[in-house]
Symmetry: C2
Subunit: 490 residues, 2 copies
Amino acid sequence: MAKLPKRSEDYSGWYNELVKSADLAENSAVRGCMVIKPYGYSIWEKMQQELDRRFKETGHSNAYFPLFIPKSYLSKEASHVEGFAKECAVVTHYRLKNSPDGKGVIVDPDAKLEEELIVRPTSETIIWNTYKNWVQSYRDLPILVNQWANVVRWEMRTRLFLRTAEFLWQEGHTAHATQQEAEAEAQQMLEVYADFAENIMALPVLKGVKTPNERFAGAIDTYCIEALMQDGKALQAGTSHFLGQNFAKAFDVKFTAKDNKLDFVWGTSWGVSTRLMGALIMAHSDDEGLVLPPNLAPIQVVIVPIYKTEEQLNAISEKVNGWKKELIKQGISVKFDNRDTQSPGWKFAEYELKGVPIRIAIGPRDLENNTCEVARRDTKEKFSVNGDEIVQLIPELLKKIQDTIYQKALSFKNQNTIEVNSWEEFKKAIDTKGGFISAHWDGTSETEEKIKEETKATIRCIPLNNKQEAGKCIFTGNPSKERVIFALNY
Amino acid sequence: MAKLPKRSEDYSGWYNELVKSADLAENSAVRGCMVIKPYGYSIWEKMQQELDRRFKETGHSNAYFPLFIPKSYLSKEASHVEGFAKECAVVTHYRLKNSPDGKGVIVDPDAKLEEELIVRPTSETIIWNTYKNWVQSYRDLPILVNQWANVVRWEMRTRLFLRTAEFLWQEGHTAHATQQEAEAEAQQMLEVYADFAENIMALPVLKGVKTPNERFAGAIDTYCIEALMQDGKALQAGTSHFLGQNFAKAFDVKFTAKDNKLDFVWGTSWGVSTRLMGALIMAHSDDEGLVLPPNLAPIQVVIVPIYKTEEQLNAISEKVNGWKKELIKQGISVKFDNRDTQSPGWKFAEYELKGVPIRIAIGPRDLENNTCEVARRDTKEKFSVNGDEIVQLIPELLKKIQDTIYQKALSFKNQNTIEVNSWEEFKKAIDTKGGFISAHWDGTSETEEKIKEETKATIRCIPLNNKQEAGKCIFTGNPSKERVIFALNY
């Protein structure tokens, strides 16, 4: 097994190598498109289940809309087409034919589409075009719909999970009778994301609202959760947009209100993607490999037998199968790795690399003493446990590990959130350890852009319920009424 | 609520209207692409859960492969590109730009791809190209992977669920060290599909193997399940392919066997799609609307209060909430429709249209007598039930309804499976009630094609474990060793 680069020496190389060697994902033959391997996908499935349950508990249903969007739709909402990257996959033809030279196939020039189709980079336009037919009266509202789908944005520089041409995501699209209701929905979904990040991903997040510069193209307000990676860079982990009546106006979606007046519908959209996989990996893992919070670990407990004879393995298996049965009953996923093709040492390294939260090793001596060795992936602690206590200990230990991983990330975030009060302090912070940098800003897009040009740092968000505090902009010295959070970011 | 056409008068119109009015799906603005509406999608989700559980129980994991396939890949497996329809969506460019006339966007001619990308019509080629890097030795086998994905085949004549340009499906792709293992896998997955169809969809199916003419392009054997619709036409509900070493050879996927010899890997692929939604609808529904088997019904029980005063509704609600709590505990999905915007009569028709298996109506008189009225969607029977017995009765009744729907479909299939022994009998059967027509065939593709030309009937399959019986081909009179199943089909 190849060793990973050290985070302290090559954070980026460490990440790339970890994603591949832990069997999470790999690059495909198609530029920028990834293959999500079974182990990586099983983590994504757990994320999906947890999110989907939360969406349904808050009243949403899933639906499915077309992969393709007529080109003309993209320009219907002016700021959407302006702000949205124009890098996208364009379908121009609908048929191949045999090549005249007998070698393979060519695009049939006679099968040109009248209007080109865009592979969806996001679905606001096609969905609002559909909602037009679903809404007549206030009785048809709200529409609370989510879609699990693939989307394509033709990125030039790609990195597995973090930035890929095709990625998987969910996109919620809701329609409401009032502004208040739509705003409340956008905020509610931000809370859902934050709850998921903190309790399932063990990832503490900063909740806030984007500056106009960083808003989603077509939104009135973009709410976001921002997480901090171990290299001091921020990662936007989810966004929830209050769209106002922008898309309703672009696609003429009107309804008759209770007072019989005709009005445009209010909208929201919100999404998280396979990018969360990147956040999960970068937030918790170490130089030995993945560290997975138990709530997302495909295998929560691995049991490795240590034996020389068939007889010893049989005796160990009998013991282990008893534990396994009891643990599975409690909903814990347990793997007994009794392969004889690999040594225990190889298996230890493998499950460390794959981030399995608890490893149990058991050999003939343990059997005699009715013990086993339990190892925690997160702290690397090892201790001997009485065999009769395993079934009770494991679920408690999983909870403890989940909490420890969260607390570690939380204290990292707290230690790396600093207030600066001058341009020198700001630049020094950016150049040294990064982190969330809380600073006064004069509120103008010009200043925001200049700061970005000089330091690459962007305003990640204005925190929700931000403390109002008079101060001076670190860049211009102009008056400021509150601090905002800057960071370098993924 | 618009009335549906009658099945006996306009089966096709009945189907189209039912799909729309029951809120299952609708056509989108993109030719041939459908919108799957929340109610339709929730049925599909239930199908997915049941199938996914079965795939995992048989050792498969999910993964995800790129949406796009380089054009040249399609021609690597010769019969694949020959047999596969060349109607597919072709991506030729990766960028839009603002139109010089200021109106909207145009395709940027400078952003032409070197090699065109095809939106996957199926993923054998991109997946086998990936497996090449996953397999070195027999220790890396088997690979048991499934993918839930969207695929695109540019169909000219589309029908919601049955034939759409984009559809959702799962595609399993497995790789094995031996022919025996791969054949067993292909057969196992056919059994999984049949079990799902019969026990979950309440859909009796005929299991068989396709003739060479009807095989998947690139397969050695295509196994299939065929179901019979109420109009006497067959519908192919799922296929499982034994691919031999065809794709391994096309993509050079070799492995070192236990005996140290290098050999090509053996493969299978298998899939079912949102077409199953069409089968479900057409197999069971009636002139009043959907009939859903309880195992797939998003709402299994709807409770409709009948009241005049707020006080009456409160008393009813108290009673109903008690039932609801107990039923939900048992995993039953219950909806209490206490909307005051619609009349009970409107609600009755609505839930009939949507195929909710059990409807409970309860009014003030019922409260006095501690009774309620229970109505079955499948048989339309209504009966009065003592309120204390509801919690016990409902789960039993749901099982009974599931079974009744299956038995009804089974007896329809049996009654419409007939043996014919002459060309006249054959043509008469095709022209009158259709069905599965069991007839002798001389085993040649020529005869198969001629029969298709003359009658549109195709050989749906050679049943598994088919009785060997000497006879004469109904078309040519040449000797035949077994009967095969002909039908008109979707």
